[in-house]
């Protein structure tokens, strides 16, 4: 079973993101990065699948050269191969263009039984790229997966989060899954694997190499960001201090007066 995992490098979420008013972009210079957390669950799921069913895991990312760091984390967890798509034409790609690019890259890399993504990246928060890739590749999808139940020669069965609760879905292979945090606990890289990952050659492909039409991506995406801004900060209200008996009563009184309860 061959598995490909799409992973994304995002700014560290322990830091409040800042905007550069001149460029209308989020400041990335000097900001620590991390692998988008749900993508680590996707890598872990991929590693578990190949441990049980054989084959290998490849990791793929789109971004500038610094994203090799993210790919090396995938390698150090146990992925066998890593690929980066880097092309200046991809800057400002929306989720449609990113799905298109990743699907083209996957086709150029090879055949996979299972493709995994995080349920969403924690910078863009869109959660659209996984399903977008599945459509571009013409394969089935199960999104918001929190348990992989069974894999047969031609199907994969998984539990997903549905609006009403949860449901168990059987999909024909190949399938694309998007992963919830509750799917698993991502493993830590071993020292040995980290050393190997740091030495690994990561092939870099541009749009031409993967057969992506540069006229469909980047600034030519179907949607565009007109403006980024910081939401008005929430005003803090009043502090209620004193004895528990007293402040508990005051708090409820205020909620009742304000018709909140």
């Amino acid at each position: 079973m061959n598995v490909l995992v799409c992973i994304k490098q995002v700014p560290d979420n322990a830091v409040v993101p800042k905007l550069d008013a001149a460029t209308n972009r989020v400041v990335k210079d000097g900001v620590e990065t991390m692998v988008s957390p749900f993508d680590l669950n996707a890598v872990e799921a991929g590693l578990k699948l190949v441990e049980e069913h054989g084959g290998e895991v490849s990791v793929l990312s789109v971004g500038d050269d610094s994203c090799k760091t993210t790919l090396r984390i995938g390698l150090s967890m146990g992925a066998a191969k890593a690929y980066l798509v880097n092309d200046p034409a991809l800057e400002d790609s929306d989720t449609w263009a990113t799905s298109y690019t990743l699907a083209k890259a996957i086709k150029s890399i090879g055949e996979f039984d299972v493709i995994l993504c995080g349920k969403q990246a924690i910078d863009d928060d869109a959660g659209q790229v996984g399903a977008g890739i599945a459509e571009q590749l013409g394969i089935s999808q199960i999104t918001y997966v929190n348990e992989i139940k069974e894999v047969t020669a031609d199907t994969l069965t998984a539990k997903r989060v549905s609006p009403a609760g949860e449901e168990v879905v059987e999909a024909k292979l190949p399938v694309l899954l998007t992963c919830e945090k509750s799917l698993n606990e991502p493993r830590y890289p071993t020292l040995k694997r980290t050393r190997m990952a740091n030495r690994a050659e990561i092939p870099v492909m541009d749009c031409a190499a993967i057969g992506a039409d540069a006229a469909k991506v980047g600034k030519n995406s179907p949607s565009a960001i007109k403006k980024l801004y910081t939401p008005a900060p929430r005003q803090s209200g009043e502090l209620i201090k004193g004895e528990a008996e007293e402040i508990g009563k005051i708090a409820v009184q205020k909620l009742v007066e304000q018709k909140i309860i």
Binding site: P17, S162, P222, I247
Partner: protein, 332 residues
């Protein structure tokens, strides 16, 4: 009024019942359509859902396309996408709204990819500028807002966050046209099957639907602290939430986690108990209408976003609040 450039809403339904977010989307679609002098069309897909179609008129739909078929009993990407794709291709709407639920997002992303059109996720406001849609959506865990535009490709697609847009007063006197649509996909073409549906534990209110949420964090001290949180929640008819710290400590399952790597919620009232207010938690709840925080530490960042900050021991304050709330409710 014309069918041209119309505003479409894909209604979200579960077990044949239309979800609240559908009415929020219809109300918003009506406003947009009035400004654009066009009509609002709703799409209802499912099994045994036909009777629900008329509900859409009260919230502003002019037409409801109903595809009622046993094959649509369960939400499945392939079947729902096929029906909606056909309708969009025949009718060329200008704007198409879907719910930002796990199913709505699954469907919207698949369809947008197929139609090669733009899709803005989890929108919280829609506006028109020079007749063009501008969709506002939170990114970076709500720390940054993005205004998204759709230069050429149509329809402009958006998923809409539940409880973000206001629902108009329903007008039961309104009527419209119900148009039956055939389901023409073969079972063999559908690549997935729903094997089992697992409902939520009975009596438990889901975080995303809740009007009131009571959340517990590290300040509870141990897992048994959630007994008090549950009692508090039950008194208020609220859902139970948790911070990542409480989930990571194994005190409560992940599905209760509120925050950037958990659920994003915006209830009428959010009560944070023993939660310090890490950035990643605030990202998931700071758009709640009213926030109450109970914490011993007066310097806790949670007080920076709270309407009412109660500085005290939650184990002493909450029992008082429960008794007071019971008294208030008993008088109603």
């Amino acid at each position: 009024m014309s069918n041209k450039n119309s505003v479409w809403v894909c209604l979200e339904q579960t077990d044949g019942k239309i979800a609240g977010v559908s009415y929020e989307m219809l109300s918003e679609a009506r406003k947009l359509a009035d400004q654009l002098s066009t009509e609002v069309c709703a799409v209802l897909m499912g099994a045994q859902v036909q009777d629900q179609a008329k509900e859409a008129f009260a919230y502003g739909a002019d037409k409801v396309y109903v595809c009622d078929d046993e094959k649509l009993k369960d939400y499945r990407t392939d079947s729902y996408c096929k029906v909606l794709e056909n309708l969009v291709k025949e009718n060329t709407p200008d704007i198409l709204l879907l719910a930002a639920t796990t199913n709505g997002r699954d469907l919207a992303a698949r369809l947008a990819s197929r139609l090669e059109t733009g899709l803005a996720a989890d929108c919280v406001a829609l506006n028109l500028e020079d007749g063009q849609l501008v969709a506002t959506r939170p990114t970076y865990g709500g720390n940054i807002m993005a205004d998204v535009v759709f230069p050429e490709k149509r329809p402009a697609m958006c998923t809409i966050r539940p409880n973000a847009l206001s629902k108009s007063e329903p007008d039961a006197s309104k009527t419209g046209e119900v148009i039956a649509v055939a389901m023409d996909a073969d079972e063999a073409e559908l690549r997935t099957k729903v094997r089992e549906v697992l409902a939520k534990a009975s009596g438990e209110i889901s975080l995303t639907d809740a009007q009131i949420i009571v959340s517990g964090g590290r300040g509870l001290g141990d897992a048994s602290g959630f007994d008090l949180i549950r009692e508090f929640a039950q008194t208020l008819g609220a859902a139970v939430g948790a911070s990542r710290a409480a989930v990571d400590a194994g005190w409560i399952p992940y599905e209760h986690q509120v925050g950037q790597t958990g659920k994003t919620v915006a209830p009428k009232l959010y009560i944070a108990c023993g939660i310090s207010g890490a950035l990643q938690h605030l990202a998931g709840m700071k758009t709640s209408d009213v926030i109450v925080a109970i914490n011993k530490d007066e310097e806790a960042p949670i007080f920076g976003v709270a309407n009412y900050g109660i500085v005290g021991d939650l184990y002493k304050v909450i029992p008082v609040m429960i008794e007071e709330i019971k008294k208030v409710l008993a008088t109603r």
